[in-house]
Symmetry: C2
Subunit: 192 residues, 2 copies
């Protein structure tokens, strides 16, 4: 299983946002939608062996952990607006400490970065990390941030985790996921 | 200069499309917007050394060649809707055989794939191509298609061009551009 987790520092935790302004009023939900696409979609298909957590920290009731599972998700289109509509539906659900399914493969729970880190297996995607191509084993899970840096409190949670880098330029979150997926594809197919 | 060119087989050649349905009514304009982002945007910045042609073949007046130049473009946001709005503005301009600027770094002309291929320097991104990582020199320009395969007529135009592949899985057009940009970044920075 390939697991990704992205922290959306401003992303809404309720369904009261408009699909017409994902970057602004919806707290950069556009970034998170692109990350879902990078993690789960390929040409004319879904990566059934991948999943992505979106850790949402914006108003009105943070933190929430939205989980989209490639193994089960249906009607996932690659465009931002359709994906945002699907996520918004999940954010309308009342949340507890365990995951609750909104539609097939889309689940939501109350929970933030600390809980996810405690589950183990993550590395942090970072410009200061070790080049992914030089690593013998790639991590099963990768954590990254949206357009904002991790806060000091978050960095403390992540302090013990390995750090990996996808390349010399600092990419957008979804671009970094795409590059990492390609490296994983290559290793799986023996293209290295 | 890194040049990309994407053929949008259904993409509108006029400004009469809605931003609320880029995948449907707007002929998969969402794909082209993501390609612009992959070609030109990085985290908090624009790739000034890159440009992308969008070859639009949908109604009402195909073909059109939209050129977005990283060296000059301003107010380019990574989200699909903002990018589509910017492109739509350019599609309102009357077009001739030479490029006309709609806003800084966004130009439009009447013209299709044949003209672009005639300008030279392109390779075709294809699942049957040679693995980019094995090539000593990467091409200066790369041509690819949207969600549809190249037509038989287009394949004839492309017959003499080299073909390269970015990996073992067939990716979405923008994902392929992102992976290729990473390879180019690595070579430029001596990370290989």
């Amino acid at each position: 299983m390939r697991t990704f987790a992205v922290v959306g520092h401003l992303a809404p935790t309720g369904d009261g946002f408009t699909l017409d302004d994902l970057p602004g009023a919806a707290g950069r939900m556009d970034i998170l939608c692109r990350c879902v696409n990078a993690a789960l979609s390929i040409s004319h298909g879904i990566r059934r062996d991948a999943e992505i957590h979106l850790i949402l920290l914006g108003p009105p009731s943070p933190p929430k952990d939205l989980l989209i599972q490639g193994s089960a998700v249906r009607s996932l289109s690659p465009d931002e607006r359709s994906t945002a509509a699907l996520l918004r539906k999940a954010l309308a659900l009342p949340t507890g400490d365990t995951f609750r399914e909104s539609s097939p493969g889309i689940l939501v729970r109350r929970g933030g970065l600390a809980g996810l880190v405690a589950e183990g297996g993550y590395a942090v995607l970072s410009k200061d990390g070790r080049d992914m191509r030089t690593l013998t084993d790639l991590p099963g899970g990768v954590l990254l941030s949206d357009h904002l840096d991790f806060t000091a409190v978050e960095e403390e949670l992540l302090a013990g985790l390995p750090r990996i880098s996808v390349g010399p330029r600092v990419l957008q979150a979804d671009q970094a996921i795409t590059v990492l997926q390609n490296e994983l594809d290559r290793r799986e197919a023996g293209w290295i």
